[in-house]
């Protein structure tokens, strides 16, 4: 099994303002492969919670469209996950 790469995968941060928006995120999790970073799983998502999740490049556009359409506030914490993975090793050998 070759190591998984995360090229141009993104991490979104969304703050559902109410139960309706929280349910939208749960529904998006049913139709998209979202890896929840916070909370641990989609069923924990609730109103006024900070929600972080990873999504593939392919699904990120349709996801952004859905969030925009539902007027949900979001930010993209990480634009290219593979880049950040490689950059975490930023300490040279002693």
């Amino acid at each position: 099994v070759a190591p998984v790469r995360f090229d141009r995968e993104k991490v979104f941060r969304v703050k559902p303002q109410d139960e309706n928006q929280a349910n939208i995120i749960k529904d998006l999790a049913k139709t998209n492969k979202l890896d929840f970073w916070y909370p641990d799983a989609s069923h924990h998502v609730a109103a006024n919670m900070t929600v972080d999740f990873r999504v593939s490049e392919k699904e990120s556009q349709s996801l952004q469209f859905a969030l925009d359409q539902n007027k949900m506030h979001y930010e993209i914490l990480i634009h290219d996950l593979q880049e950040v993975i490689e950059k975490q090793f930023d300490v040279k050998e002693n």
């Binding site: 890896d35 970073w37 924990h44 972080d52 990873r54 996950l81 300490v91």
Partner: protein, 308 residues
Amino acid sequence: TPDRHSYAKYNTWDKIVAWTEKMMHKRPEMISRIKIGTTVEDNPLYVLKIGKKDERRKAIFMDCGIHAREWISPAFCQWFVYQATKTYGKNKIMTKLLDRMNFYVLPVFNIDGYIWSWKKNRLWRKNRSKNQNFKCIGTDLNRNFNVSWNSSPTTQSPCEDTYPGPAPESEKETKAVTDFIQSHLKSIKAYITVHSYSQLLLFPYGYTSKLPPNNEELTKAAKIGTDVLSTRYETRYIYGPTASTIYKTPGSSLDWAYNLGIKHTFAFELRDEGRFGFLLPESRIKPTCKETMLAVKFIAKYILKHTS
């Protein structure tokens, strides 16, 4: 040399094993290594006992790396062992602590998952056990403890990242830890489990919004712990009972240890708050470890003073 262990870097499992051997040989009077079991893929689960030989003294059990992708967690446990042995006899608090109590440190709980996160999938979370009749691999070890196990039916599928396993303590790793803690219950007065990220200091309960009988005491200890932590770099931590501070989490090690009778159990969610998430750069390992050390030393001092 590139393959040398470094406290300023993330270390592979092989380097960590070699490090445990080196520490044992370097400080045999203070460090011993106990094999408490093996993982699903037969890796050895090692606990390092830090302190004097006398097993009757008060002790604190601390585990790191229960979730594979949370790499800053094992880095902290390595740092803790290093600092404990390095500053004993020099730092007043650490000397007092190690003269009177022991620490049992499990540097990596979920070894198979940690290895997998290095070699195959950096964002892997669970262990690597196979699930009968399912393609999906792994159990969330922090949902596998026998406390309100699987009380949230939404995580039945082994493909879920929070899959609690087919039964409580179904996982070899969970069983090894619960057996060890139960067999040392007389001496273990506190349990600390280290995760990331979010900068939180949590205590029971996770499985219910009910407050523990000593909630006031745990709140006070957590408040001072986060205050002490922030003295180093002004890093802000939030503290409180898990269920009301974040969300309900059944089957966690924190609640299991508390219900077993260890009335001081804490979970750290280390840096950061999401800017890097699980991918905290190595350049932030040391400051994260240094500030967390202050909180853990405070908690240990508190336990020494306030437990019988």
